[in-house]
């Protein structure tokens, strides 16, 4: 199966623009990601410095302990009782200090991580609230979700332990090297020869590791996608009896997942012999050459012991780094994906000086041209005025531009040419929020949030009283079915709540729109999504909602169309006819033909 990229190929608002997260994939360190992350450290300076202070204390004590142990050994050998006891007390004190340092480090760096995570999370969410609908058309919910959830989770690793830990491991390493050099320069130089060897090994290793890591990531993504589809599409699979074919396909992606992981595991495990052998070589060098120096009286036994302890310490950070390698790589890639999202510019923004739109009733399109992407045109030179209180139905084939017209009034998208005005205000000149408060939109796909039915209706006007909510539900014709539910208005609905039928959801959405009481209604007629009974209730509710308001309806039903004050017939983005049902029928144009075709007999000779 080849990798494929969905979403859009058009203009701005893309999730692959300035920050190319694919390029970062597999890198342990990316300067741009790190640079951006560092900026988050500013506001948490005090916590950070306490944590860093703790870390320094901890590092100093870890480096100091073997040295002190060495001195204590010498005192023991010399039989210096007082000296030994003093050293014991010093070691104990140093370890106590190390304890405190460790505590500060864990606590405050932990705080730092959590504070940053909180900020990144809310920042991403707030940013998503600013992006225009075009962005959501081009990027699937699942992809965005995974950035806000998985990717943020992933950088937690990096923040909580990774980056600073790596930094301080390096500092510790250097400190150890310095102490060794001070204590015994010749032996230190000899022992340290293993370091370049290790560096070379690590360099070669990480090249392979990167490739293996990318392969594992891909394999996991494929397995998950396949599993997800297997579950979501199970009904189709069973009805077409494809279980065996699917099982085979899954087995093969699962096998690739296995192979990729084993390969990665082999690489990770390969680090063991390297580190162990180099540690042993280091230790052997100390034993032989150090031992010779002690025999020659050039070095004490204590220093020899300290050296041997240091050799072990030396490789600890290296091992840790290889263990954390995969996590750090993932975190880098995640960081890139997060910033990629945060860097998407909203296509539609309010002018800083934009005024609020006062209650308005009249909609006007003047020479409007529009397309969803720069190169294309869905609407051409539309001129149309919807008068206060008037109901205008828009009819036309799929792709004629009906929905575009509705989307322009609310400024979900912006015109390419011309103006859309509401009571003379250009919709681009007022704040989006005030504009949308004047316009009630009822869409084909009724959406409910997780929460009670009451909460969902109140979404229309947050400060509404319970009575007003019920009143709106009554007007929408939703009250009857809601009262019949066991928990009435308290019934939990939405993704994780009880399932309402499409018709019932639509009624709740209507109640929500009625409660909001907007002077303008844009209705994407949704009647086709419900069955006969609900349909009738809904038709009545629609009529009630429309009364006394300016209405623009994207009509699918001729019954709605015939009742409209005026009908606009769209064809390929142009208005071809405007008039009442009677006028248009008389004209015998496109409307007449569409109407006629719907009344034409069915596939077989009518028995009636």
């Amino acid at each position: 199966m080849s990798a494929h990229h969905g979403g859009g190929q058009h203009g701005g608002g893309e999730l692959s623009g300035t920050f190319d997260s694919d390029k970062v994939m597999g890198k342990v360190y990316d300067s741009r990601v790190a640079g951006r992350l560092i900026k988050y450290l500013g506001p948490v300076k005090s916590n950070l410095s306490l944590g860093a202070g703790g870390m320094i204390l901890r590092s100093v004590t870890t480096v100091a302990v073997p040295f002190l142990v060495g001195i204590a050994m010498d005192r023991i050998i010399e039989g210096d009782l007082v000296g030994r006891n003093t050293m014991v007390l010093i070691v104990a004190a140093v370890i106590m200090v190390g304890w405190g340092g460790r505590y500060l480090e864990e606590l405050f760096l932990g705080f730092v991580g959590q504070k940053i995570l909180y900020r990144v999370r809310t920042q991403m969410f707030d940013h998503l609230q600013k992006l225009s609908l075009g962005f959501f058309d081009r990027n699937k919910v699942g992809r965005i979700m995974s950035r806000v959830q998985n990717d943020v989770q992933q950088i937690q690793e990096l923040l909580a332990s990774g980056m600073l830990n790596v930094l301080f491991s390096a500092v510790t390493l250097i400190a150890i090297a310095i102490i060794m050099l001070v204590v015994n320069t010749d032996l230190a130089l000899l022992t340290l020869t293993v370091v370049p060897a290790l560096a070379i090994v690590a360099f070669i290793w990480q090249k392979y590791a990167r490739r293996a890591f990318i392969r594992v990531r891909r394999a996991i993504a494929t397995v998950n996608a396949q599993l997800q589809e297997g579950i979501a599409g199970v009904r189709v699979t069973q009805s077409l009896t494809r279980e065996d074919v699917n099982a085979e396909q899954f087995e093969s992606v699962n096998r690739e997942h296995f192979t990729a992981n084993v390969e990665a595991a082999r690489l990770q495990a390969a680090m063991w012999p390297m580190v162990e052998i180099l540690t042993a070589v280091g230790t052997a060098l100390v034993i032989y050459f150090g031992g010779a120096q002690v025999l020659a009286g050039q070095m004490t036994i204590g220093a020899l012991v300290a050296f041997m302890l240091y050799v072990r310490r030396f490789f600890e950070p290296v091992l840790e780094l290889t263990m954390e390698y995969v996590e750090i790589q993932r975190a880098m890639a995640s960081g890139a994906r997060i910033f990629e999202l945060l860097d998407v510019e909203p296509e539609i923004t309010d002018d800083p000086a934009a005024p609020d739109l006062p209650p308005a009733k009249e909609i006007k399109f003047e020479g409007v041209s529009f397309g969803y992407s720069p190169g294309t045109r869905g609407l051409h030179d539309i001129n149309l005025t919807v008068n206060p209180g008037e109901t205008v139905a828009i009819v036309g084939k799929t792709g004629a531009g009906k929905s575009s017209l509705a989307n322009l009034i609310t400024r979900f998208y912006e015109v390419q040419e011309g103006w859309v005005t509401v009571d003379g205000y250009d919709v681009n000149s007022v704040t989006q929020q005030s504009l949308r408060r004047q316009i009630g939109v009822v869409t084909q796909d009724p959406f409910l949030f997780f929460g009670s039915i009451e909460d969902n209706i109140r979404y229309g006007r947050t400060e509404a009283t319970r009575e007003e909510v019920i009143e709106a539900a009554k007007k929408a014709g939703a009250h009857d079915f809601i009262s019949r539910l066991e928990r009435g208005y308290e019934t939990q609905v939405g993704e994780r709540g009880e399932n309402l039928s499409a018709g019932q959801r639509q009624l709740v959405c209507l109640a929500r729109a009625i409660l909001a009481n907007p002077p303008i209604i844009v209705l994407d007629e949704a009647t086709s999504n419900v069955d006969t009974h609900a349909e009738r209730v809904m038709q009545r509710s629609f009529r009630r909602l429309m009364k006394g308001r300016t209405c623009l309806i994207i009509a699918h039903r001729l019954s709605t169309v015939t009742r409209a004050d005026r009908i606009v017939v769209l064809d390929q983005g142009r208005i071809v006819e405007i008039g009442s049902h009677r006028e248009l029928m008389a004209r015998k144009g496109m409307y007449y033909n569409m109407y006629g075709s719907l009344l034409a007999p069915g596939p077989e000779p009518q028995s009636a």
């Binding site: 304890w99 969410f125 959501f136 806000v148 070589v281």
Partner: protein, 582 residues
């Protein structure tokens, strides 16, 4: 424990590799224990003014032991990973296969996200146990016992002091892990809530924008994120306190060893080399002991994850093939419902005593309001659910007596919500007929009135659809489902058309596609297209799960019952146009 034993069943197959992994682990542990002995000996050799030659041999022995330790550690790590990945691979396959075959009743209850987490996180938890968990815990035990043995031989009291501290730390690590676990579970829960808020905000983006609710949404999200933050902070405090304490407890024996051990050296009861052994072994144990907490966490995650996975593997599909079920071949496709009763949860029946007979090749329209049981009837014929009472026969054979595969190959269903797979349009059409050639696919698409649209796409039949591909309209998806079913060419066809989204254009196309679709088949259709209903050979009118009327359009109109009532009220609403049954 029971769960762990059952999970062990999955690893049984790989016992040879597991055994080798275990042997490698033993070897690597042994070599790990040898090195401090060699170091100790070299120190004592130096102190005794020994020969350089002896030191040389000791140094070489250290290198040798290190190399052996490295190699065996590699073998251990690698083999364990292979076994654990193999196990995960097997469990995942079994789970996938099971999920594919569980009946609709199961999937109605289950949420995709929740099942996904079993297939990913829970399988991973099982893998972790067989990966690092099982042998890791064994290794810690062996190390602890081995070191205790070596040190007790040198000096029992000092050994007791050193190992006592380590045991205390290990115990503490386990306690802390238990202490932190509920907090982590709470955090998981809070994350899920946060996820829901986010998901709703994204899927409901139009609603949010229409009501200008962006600020409220942001407030809701950050309030929840703050609760999550607080919980994390709580965890951080507990972790910081306990972790630092443990590290302290692991290192504080050092001065003790120097003090008491130093005294022993002076008294001649211990050599300096032996004293260093204590310090080296302490360093070796420090890491594994702190890991104990992590290990016990793996264990409890494995138990709960394993339970969730086994739960699914143990679920028997309610719809099962009888032993000795026969193939359903060459049917003429007569269908009969004999006193069929059905309920989803045995509480309130959805269908009551439904009986009707359909001759081969007839067109049956199922008519009725919401919850009348139309769709249920459609789902019973391919045995997505089993009847609770009565029986359904095809050509006089009870559908429970035939194999599921042969039944479903003969019964095609076009469902309400068309699911598209992330694949090309071609693959989606050929979903039920693997290996169909492009001509057949095109023929099906043509018959479903979808060919022209597909050709208008830049990539034609190779266009990607589904989650990451091009979005199709409701009508286009429905026609794709029709093409998919046409290609299978079933003798019995069920079309659930009740919630299709239709505009004027699609309406016309669908009408033509339908004509093609029902030709030469026994067809059940749930629809509000009056033209279709009027032409049906049999109209079954349902109300609250019961058949209230059945007959042809003319018969039912003559009877002035429910059908006529609905029909006429619709015609009035429809402004006399009567274009639709709604």
């Amino acid at each position: 424990m029971n769960i762990l034993l059952r999970l062990m069943g999955f690893v049984k197959k790989y016992w040879v590799r597991l055994l080798f992994a275990f042997l490698c682990m033993l070897a690597s542990t042994a070599f790990m224990l040898i090195i401090p002995q060699l170091i100790s000996q070299s120190i004592d050799t130096v102190l005794a003014d020994g020969e350089l030659g002896a030191l040389m041999w000791l140094a070489l022995a250290v290198v040798g032991a290190g190399a052996m330790r490295g190699v065996s550690a590699f073998g251990n790590a690698y083999l364990t990973e292979v076994v654990s990945q193999k196990t995960a691979y097997d469990v995942r396959n079994a789970l996938y296969d099971k999920l594919q075959r569980l009946s609709f009743a199961f999937h109605d209850q289950a949420q995709t996200g929740e099942l996904m987490s079993r297939g990913t996180a829970d399988v991973e938890a099982i893998r972790m146990f067989f990966g690092r968990g099982l042998l890791g815990m064994l290794q810690i035990t062996i190390l602890f016992v081995g070191i205790s043995f070596l040190l007790v031989r040198l000096n029992p009291l000092l050994a007791l002091m050193t190992m006592g501290f380590l045991a205390a730390v290990g115990w503490r690590a386990v306690i802390v892990a238990r202490l932190l676990r509920p907090i982590w579970l709470k955090i998981q829960e809070l994350m899920a809530v946060l996820g829901t808020i986010l998901e709703e905000n994204l899927t409901g983006v139009r609603t949010v924008r229409s009501f200008a609710h962006e600020q409220e949404e942001s407030d809701k999200f950050s309030a929840q994120a703050e609760i999550l933050y607080d919980e994390h902070i709580r965890a951080t405090r507990k972790r910081a306190f306990n972790l630092s304490l443990m590290v302290f407890l692991v290192t504080i024996p050092i001065p003790l060893i120097l003090w008491y051990g130093g005294g022993q050296v002076e008294a001649g009861a211990l050599t300096v080399g032996e004293l260093t052994q204590f310090i080296f072994y302490l360093t070796i144990m420090a890491m594994p002991v702190r890991r104990l907490g992590f290990m016990t966490n793996i264990l409890s995650r494995t138990v709960s994850g394993g339970q969730r996975v086994l739960e699914i593997l143990d679920t028997e599909s309610v719809v099962r093939e009888k032993p000795g079920a026969v193939e359903l071949n060459d049917i003429s496709a007569a269908v009969s419902f004999d006193n069929v009763t059905f309920s989803y949860d045995s509480a309130s029946p959805v269908l009551r005593d439904v009986s009707f007979t359909v001759e081969p090749g007839q067109l049956v329209a199922l008519v009725g309001g919401l919850g009348s049981g139309k769709s249920t009837i459609a789902h019973l014929i391919p045995r997505f659910y089993d009847v609770s009472g009565g029986r359904i026969c095809i050509d006089g054979i009870d559908i429970r007596d035939v194999t599921l595969d042969s039944l479903r190959k003969n019964v095609g269903i076009v469902q309400q919500n068309t699911f598209l797979f992330s694949a090309t349009i071609r693959d989606n059409i050929a979903y039920g007929t693997v290996g169909a050639d492009i001509e057949q696919v095109i023929a099906a698409a043509r018959a479903a009135q979808l060919h022209d649209f597909i050709e208008s796409l830049p990539d034609g039949y190779d266009t990607w659809v589904g989650e990451r591909g091009v979005t199709l309209s409701g009508g286009q998806k429905q026609r794709l489902a029709v093409a998919r079913t046409l290609l299978v060419n079933p003798r019995i066809l069920i079309m659930d058309d009740s919630t299709s989204s239709v505009d004027v254009e699609t309406e016309l196309l669908m009408r033509r596609a339908l004509e093609e679709l029902i030709k030469g088949r026994t067809t059940f259709i749930i629809t509000h297209r009056l033209s279709v209903i009027r032409n049906a050979d049999l109209i079954v009118v349902l109300e609250a799960g019961e058949v209230v009327e059945k007959g042809t359009h003319d018969e039912l109109m003559a009877r002035s019952g429910l059908y006529r009532e609905i029909y006429e009220s619709q015609s009035v609403v429809g402004d006399g146009s009567g274009e639709d049954f709604s």
